[in-house]
């Protein structure tokens, strides 16, 4: 019976896919499946090699368990499990042996059924899990990222070590859910977290939010709180999430934002044009002043070059400056520049350009600053004009002073000389003669003073009362005043002055100008020819030009040109010539903001052109 029984056992057991062995109470192997034997590097069950061999022999080659434990497992009356490891050439394999008592029909223990399972993969997974857990903890400690978990059924809230550290509570602190919420700063942060937490509880909406907590020690801290639901069979059972200290980061961000804000405010509100250009001179930043100047918003200006914004010639100058600054790396400071916009309007700037350097010290663009100095320039021009006017007037004054001193000196010299004679003279007849001379000299002095007075009057008459005067009416008036003189000299007039033409002039000056020019034309006529005077006038853009020509002797302008309007200059042998008329009318014309010119040819005639200033 024994043999009958053993054969099927043996046969059956041998083929079992699961590694299985039978061990008797003496710990001797009775039967084993091929798969079991394979684990111990045996091909198949050979009774002479294996039968009745102690089961301990097999386990000898395996490690990570004690033979004592094995012995206990084999002798216990209920199921036992041990793990053991086998080292192969390169890798190691883990096994799990299950020991179950083997009974006969009378419940007597016959031995133990040993079943072995290859658990290498599970062990690897367990190790991996362990490794990941360790890594996660290390990471969370380094990154200050904590975690938390909330079990809905138990209402149990757990915080990890880092989470506790962030809250500045002791490591054995056991938080409750409402406590957790109360750590958040009252107001926005607390309201927000309550809402998010409840929403996550209700429908599993995950959240991740930057909020402020007040720690156990009363410090205010920025944190990122994240939460997510864990579902089991479609039902939310747990919430878990992260908890990160981002205080330093947020503070740094706030600081950066503040300095950025400061810089932007500063640049934007500087009353000068600020721009940054790239290597191709395209604008990559413009401030408010620059935008206002160009009449566009910054979006439209970014990427534009000077060629898009200014007159081509001006743009080329600017581009050349940019290239020079980026090539030499030397800033261009406070250069006076002129920008001409596309509409042709020009602005004077005081411009500085500073190269922008990358880490390698190469220029990748430039910062430009331009101050509008147009109004200063205008003031400068006005000042220059004023200086010019002053210089001219000063020159006139010096000239006048010389005239005065010379003319007065010559008279006083005469007085002095004559008086000297008078003192020494004994003859009565000669004395009378000298006295006569003295009275003559006195008359001359009075005349001179009168003339000088006339000139001073013009030069000091600052508040000129200019009026619009009909030119022809004034010519007619002069003709009437000079009627006798003109008839006597048989003067012929050719007058083409338009009847309605008016000039801006001081009435007395206009009369003086016309009178002097007409008189001169008659005085310097050719001895044997009747004088012809041609009058004409023309309106020009800002002035009226009045021309008076004669057919007289003419003046050699190459010789006298520089003196013709000088005081006490006469050029012809004429008894009536005082050398004062032209000097006076030149002063009068100039005092009214006008101008007088002369052209002449000897023996042909002379033309004077008077330009009346019609502007102011």
């Amino acid at each position: 019976m024994k043999t009958i029984e053993t054969v099927p056992y043996h046969y059956l057991l041998k083929q079992l896919p699961k590694a299985t062995a039978l061990v008797d109470t003496n710990y001797s192997l009775i039967e084993a499946s091929n798969s079991w034997l394979n684990i111990f590097d045996l091909e198949h069950f050979e009774p002479k090699n294996t039968h009745n061999r102690s089961v301990f022999d097999f386990y000898d080659s395996h490690k990570e368990f004690s033979s004592k434990t094995l012995k206990e497992c084999l002798s216990k009356k209920h199921k036992q499990v041990i793990r053991h490891k086998k080292n192969e050439k390169e890798n190691e394999r883990w096994f799990e042996s299950t020991f179950a008592p083997w009974f006969d029909e009378k419940e007597n223990i016959l031995g133990t059924i040993v079943q072995i399972e290859d658990i290498t993969k599970e062990i690897e997974k367990e190790l991996e899990l362990e490794r990941i857990k360790t890594l996660l903890q290390a990471k969370s400690e380094v990154a200050k990222v904590g975690s938390w978990e909330y079990d809905i059924s138990t209402e149990n809230l757990t915080w990890c070590k880092v989470t506790k550290e962030i809250h500045q509570v002791s490591p054995n602190f056991k938080p409750k859910i409402n406590q957790g919420i109360e750590f958040y700063k009252q107001g926005y942060s607390r309201n927000k977290i309550s809402m998010l937490f409840h929403k996550a509880l209700e429908d599993g909406t995950p959240y991740n939010e930057r909020l402020i907590i007040i720690t156990n020690k009363g410090e205010e801290k920025w944190v990122t709180a994240g939460g997510k639901a864990i579902k089991k069979n479609g039902k939310i059972v747990k919430l878990f999430g992260t908890f990160q200290d981002i205080n330093d980061q947020v503070l740094a961000e706030i600081k950066t934002k503040e300095s950025e804000q400061l810089l932007t405010t500063l640049i934007d509100n500087l009353p000068i044009n600020v721009f940054i250009k790239d290597k191709e001179s395209r604008k990559i930043l413009v401030n408010k002043t620059e935008c206002e100047y160009l009449g566009a918003n910054s979006k439209d200006l970014i990427g534009k070059t000077d060629f898009d914004l200014y007159d081509d010639r001006v743009a080329q100058i600017s581009r050349d400056e940019d290239l020079e600054v980026m090539r030499t790396l030397k800033p261009m400071i406070g250069r006076e520049t002129i920008n001409v916009r596309k509409d042709g309007s020009a602005t004077n700037f005081l411009t500085s350009k500073i190269p922008l350097l990358d880490i390698k010290g190469k220029a990748y663009g430039l910062i430009g600053m331009s101050m509008d100095i147009t109004h200063i320039k205008q003031k400068e021009d006005q000042l220059q004009d004023l200086i010019n006017v002053t210089a001219i007037q000063n020159k006139k004054l010096i000239n006048f002073a010389h005239i005065v001193s010379h003319n007065l000196r010559s008279h006083t010299a005469n007085f002095s000389m004559l008086l000297e004679f008078l003192i020494k003279e004994k003859e009565e007849k000669e004395k009378k003669r000298i006295m006569k001379m003295l009275s003559h000299a006195s008359d001359n002095l009075l005349d001179t003073l009168e003339n000088l007075n006339e000139v001073v009057d013009i030069s000091t008459n600052v508040n000129l009362d200019k009026k619009s005067l009909n030119l022809n009416e004034n010519i007619l008036k002069v003709q009437q005043n000079l009627a006798g003189f003109l008839v006597k000299n048989k003067v012929e007039f050719i007058n083409s002055v338009p009847n309605n033409l008016s000039v801006m002039s001081v009435p007395a000056y206009l009369e003086s100008i016309v009178l002097n020019l007409v008189t001169n034309a008659v005085k310097y006529c050719k001895p044997k020819e009747n004088p012809t005077i041609t009058l004409s006038a023309q309106k020009q853009e800002k002035s009226v030009v009045f021309s008076i020509s004669d057919n007289g002797m003419g003046i050699d302008l190459n010789r006298y040109g520089g003196k013709i309007f000088g005081m006490y200059k006469t050029f012809h042998n004429n008894k009536d010539a005082r050398g004062l008329g032209l000097y006076i009318i030149k002063n009068q014309v100039e005092a009214m903001g006008g101008n007088i010119t002369v052209s002449s040819e000897v023996d042909k005639g002379t033309t004077f052109n008077v330009y009346f200033n019609e502007e102011d």
Partner: protein, 141 residues
């Protein structure tokens, strides 16, 4: 009192002011013996008078009193012409002016340096004709 007065052949006075001419003539009367004193009212008439003399072969004036400020042709313009004339004799030219402008003195000096004639500079008023106004050669005597 007996004064040995210098004899001069011919003197020109060129001035537009009759009082000055009167004065110079009066002063000359007591200093010099000259039967040929001519007055001209400006440089142009003087130049014409001079040219006429040269054409006639008459002697040029030994001494000239020359005013600067005159109409038509002033003293400088006269000097410019005179210096360019072919006159062998060295003539004493007394430039007389009421001007105290340093520029006038400078101009006189320029003429003095480029001219072969003797040039004097005299400021008005004149009270007396000096020996040097009439004679350069006998300056030492």
């Amino acid at each position: 009192m007996f004064i040995l007065m210098k004899k001069i052949n011919s003197i020109f006075i060129i001035d537009d002011d009759p009082i000055t001419i009167f004065g110079i003539k009066k002063m000359l009367k007591t200093t010099v013996i000259c039967k040929d004193i001519k007055a001209f009212e400006n440089g142009k008439t003087a130049l014409e008078g001079l040219t006429k003399r040269i054409e006639k072969g008459a002697s040029v004036p030994e001494v000239i009193f020359l005013d600067i400020n005159m109409p038509i042709m002033d003293g400088w313009e006269f000097l410019e012409e005179f210096v360019g004339m072919d006159i062998k004799e060295k003539i004493i030219i007394n430039v007389i002016t009421s001007s105290i402008d340093p520029l006038d003195y400078q101009r006189w000096n320029d003429f003095r340096l480029k001219s072969l004639h003797y040039l004097n500079f005299k400021n008005k008023p004149i009270y007396k004709i000096e020996a040097t106004d009439l004679n350069r050669v006998n300056i030492a005597s």
